[in-house]
Amino acid sequence: MQWYEILIAVIAAAIVALPIILHFVNKKKGKHSCGCGCDCGCTECSSCEKCKHESDK
């Protein structure tokens, strides 16, 4: 296996892991990544409030 093949494999694994990591990071921050418009990251709008509430449950 060449070095670039290993690199591509690692990047591919990172791409797969990214949404899972983001899910937990966002959950901690109270962010959500659906289409509800609360992916603004403000944690202050109604949707984010709701999502924060959901993640607290």
């Binding site: 791409i15 949404p19 659906c34 709008c45 109604s46 949707s47």
Partner: protein, 726 residues
């Protein structure tokens, strides 16, 4: 930090003011009920940062709806330094009803007379000084949309926030006045806003009665001693009557109406748009026009009617994103198709660029070119087309037409036992099922709320649009737009039929009243439209770069490797995904699209749609089904589309449904989504197949189905009538 609350009637422009003050891009809808929860932002132009809280629109501070409870609790418990009461200046008398209640709370209040530009345009005049005198609090004329007067408003509110204010009431000199004084005395000494609590106790407010039973006893005794004044002891009605009396008598001087005769422009437009007979056909024509401009490959049917063909190679390449294949082009494609072709071309070029450095025969070349660029590109190429669709929907929303659609649909839905109030969350489902399900909390009845959540998926969300766009290409020619139009229409029809079935077998046959203000028509605001599109674009890009890219890599791996993956890549038919898909395809076999050699691929695509609906498209591309390679009959395409439309939505929407429904309701909802999508897909496939075998048999079955629906409607309508009588 200082906290200001924005409170006012629904659709008076609170969220527009909130966005203007905080620079946010919160969704603004030109219909009531868009804000169902409070939202917060910062105003930074003053000496001190101010936290602005946008409260849901309410008509009163009585605890009848969740929005009213949220707003009331916030003002009473969180004690903002100032309440900015946003008032629609074009509807002053009705809006002031809430103002008279807010004034009863011990909190500094400032009245923001919004839409003053519209008042001026109507030729009317509001004497602000007079209004200030009657209300006893500062009043500032503003236009949140045009950012006029907002700085002055905030400056005054800031000054006001440094002061204290005790509640005042207009009921002092009425028959309720003496009772208020005595009930106030009976309330605990340390309780704030006693005046407000006392009046609510007299009204018989449930929350107050529970919280202050002793004071309630006194209020009940005092009310019993009063002579009956025609309201049969209903003090809630007495108080409301006195408020409206006061408003109509005292605020006359503040409003100078222009001597206009006849109808307003909005009234004239509404004569056509909300016409008893023509409104629904007109709505269908408008929707079809939208789909035609987004999905049609033959704009204005120029090929179908006039036989227009484009033969020039340069012109064909221009219209099809360098797609000249030696044949003339039948008609001019719509803007949506044009944009999609060029976006597809960009991703093709990107794939070719990578192809210069690596071969698709290697695993990494296949992963990057076929997997990531192909899969993500398949979804991304539809983004401009979908954005165009949302631009049209936003125009309808912002101009005030969508509010009329809810009104028109209420008339139709009521016959099937569904309130128009339930239709508003469903309309929001055209954007995303998540806010649609959240908006269902405006419904008081938990049963109705669960049902509305269940039906939210019938309204095709933005994530499903790429599926229709992909299938429209397969249907091809000038039928693409008709296909997408019929899918959206099918959603609405199934929502009505489902509502009918749920009502028929449910216990509750009460149809709650639906009161909605129709906003005046106005030209859509460019800034609002762009804000909507920006939110959508951001959402698509983030989703494509995360969830879709990740699932694409996983699906690529599963479709290119066997169970012994260490032995290297295998043919797709021998892959892990093929084995899983073949196993599961038996469940969907009766639905037609899961039959045949490619059946397992459609099964897998449907399942990946549970992660994110766009994944259906990327999976089809990865499995070699997209780009015109979908080998389904028309019946199969419709059945596949119907299944994906009505089945379980994406994970985010399922999680929202769980949070918004009752526990039992959620499990029923899950079962409903799976069962209804299965049955509808089954019926569509076999009825359409029947048409291809014998048209008469297809017509016969269709007639039987329609007759069954009509009969159910009649039975339900009788039950509703009986229930109403009881």
């Amino acid at each position: 930090m200082i906290k200001f609350a924005l409170a006012g009637n629904p659709n008076c422009g609170k969220t527009t003011l909130f966005n203007t003050l905080t620079g946010s891009t919160a969704h603004v809808g030109n219909w009531p009920g868009v804000t169902v929860d409070k939202r917060e932002g910062l105003y930074k132009k003053l000496a001190e940062k101010v936290q602005i809280v946008d409260l849901p629109g309410i008509y009163s501070l009585s605890p009848y709806t969740p929005e009213e409870v949220i707003s009331r609790n916030f003002i009473l418990d969180e004690k903002p330094e100032c309440v900015i009461n946003v008032v629609d200046a074009t509807n002053l008398e009705r809006n002031l009803y809430l103002t008279t209640q807010i004034l009863e709370i011990d909190v500094p209040v400032i009245v923001a007379l919004n839409m003053m530009d519209a008042v001026k345009a109507n030729g009317d005049k509001i004497v602000i000084e007079e209004l200030q005198k009657v209300l006893g609090v500062p009043v500032v004329g503003i236009s949140a949309l045009k950012r006029e007067g907002t700085d002055e408003l905030m400056q005054k509110a800031f000054e006001l926030a440094q002061t204290k204010r005790n509640g005042t009431t207009i009921l002092e000199n009425t028959i309720v006045g003496p009772i208020i004084a005595k009930v106030k005395e009976a309330l605990p000494q340390d309780l704030g806003s006693k005046l407000f609590h006392a009046i609510k106790l007299i009204e018989g407010d449930e929350l107050e009665v529970k919280a202050h039973p002793e004071a309630d006893k006194i209020a009940t005794e005092l009310k019993a001693q009063q002579p009956d004044d025609g309201f049969d002891g209903d003090y809630e009605a007495v108080v409301a009557d006195r408020r409206y009396d006061y408003i109509s008598v005292n605020f006359k001087k503040a409003i100078v109406k222009a001597n206009k005769q006849g109808m307003t422009k909005s009234d004239k437009i509404d004569k056509v748009m909300t016409h008893r007979i023509w409104s629904i056909p007109l709505f269908l024509v408008i929707m079809f026009a939208v789909f035609h401009f987004v999905f049609s490959e033959d704009l204005l049917f120029m090929n179908a009617i006039f036989g227009l063909e484009i033969k020039s190679e340069t012109a064909v390449n221009f219209f099809t994103g360098m797609g000249y294949e030696g044949e003339p082009l039948g008609g001019i494609p719509s803007l949506g198709v044009f944009l999609q072709s060029w976006m597809g071309f960009v991703f093709d070029q990107l794939g070719e660029l990578f192809g210069l450095f690596m071969s698709t025969d290697t695993w990494y070349g296949a992963l990057i070119i076929d997997g990531i660029i192909g899969g993500v590109g398949a979804v991304a190429s539809f983004i401009p087309q979908i954005l165009l669709l949302f631009l049209f929907i936003s125009i309808m929303e912002d101009s005030g037409y969508m509010a009329r659609v809810a009104f028109i649909m209420d008339r139709a839905f009521r016959k099937f036992g569904l309130s128009g109030k339930a239709f508003i969350p469903m309309l929001m489902g055209f954007g995303c099922s998540v806010p649609a399900m959240m908006a269902a909390r405006t419904l008081e009845d938990t049963c109705e709320r669960d049902r509305t959540i269940r039906l939210a998926t019938c309204f095709s969300c933005g994530a499903k649009a790429p599926i229709w766009a992909m299938l429209a290409v397969v249907v091809g020619g000038f039928f693409g737009d008709i296909f997408v139009f019929t899918i959206y229409l099918l959603g609405i029809v199934i929502a009505i039929v489902s509502a009918l079935i749920m009502k028929l077998f449910g216990k509750n046959h009460d149809v709650p009243p639906f009161i909605m203000e129709l906003p005046a028509y106005h030209a859509p605001q460019f800034k609002n439209l762009m804000a909507h599109l920006w939110e959508k674009l951001k959402h698509y890009v983030v989703k494509a770069a995360t969830i879709i890219a990740a699932s694409t890599v996983v699906i690529w791996f599963l479709s290119n490797f066997g169970w012994a993956f260490w032995n290297g890549m295998v043919e797709i038919e021998n892959s892990i995904l093929a084995d899983i898909g073949r196993g599961l395809s038996y469940i969907f076999y009766p639905l037609g699209w899961a039959m045949g050699a490619d059946g397992w691929k459609y099964t897998v695509a449907t399942l990946t749609g549970l992660i994110a609906k766009e994944d259906v498209v990327s999976t089809c591309e990865l499995l070699g089904l997209a780009s015109g390679a979908i080998g389904l009959s028309t019946a199969g395409i419709y059945a596949f589309a119907a299944y994906n439309l009505f089945t379980l939505p994406c994970m985010a929407a399922v999680a929202t449904a769980k949070g918004e429904s009752t526990k039992k309701g959620f499990w029923v909802t899950l079962a409903w989504w799976f069962a209804s999508s299965y049955v509808i897909s089954l019926i569509i496939y076999w009825v359409l197949e029947l048409y291809s075998v014998a048209v008469w048999a297809g017509i016969l079955v269709t007639l039987v189905l329609v007759a069954a629906i009509v009969a159910s409607g009649i039975v339900l309508s009788r039950r509703i009538k009986k229930y109403s009588k009881e």
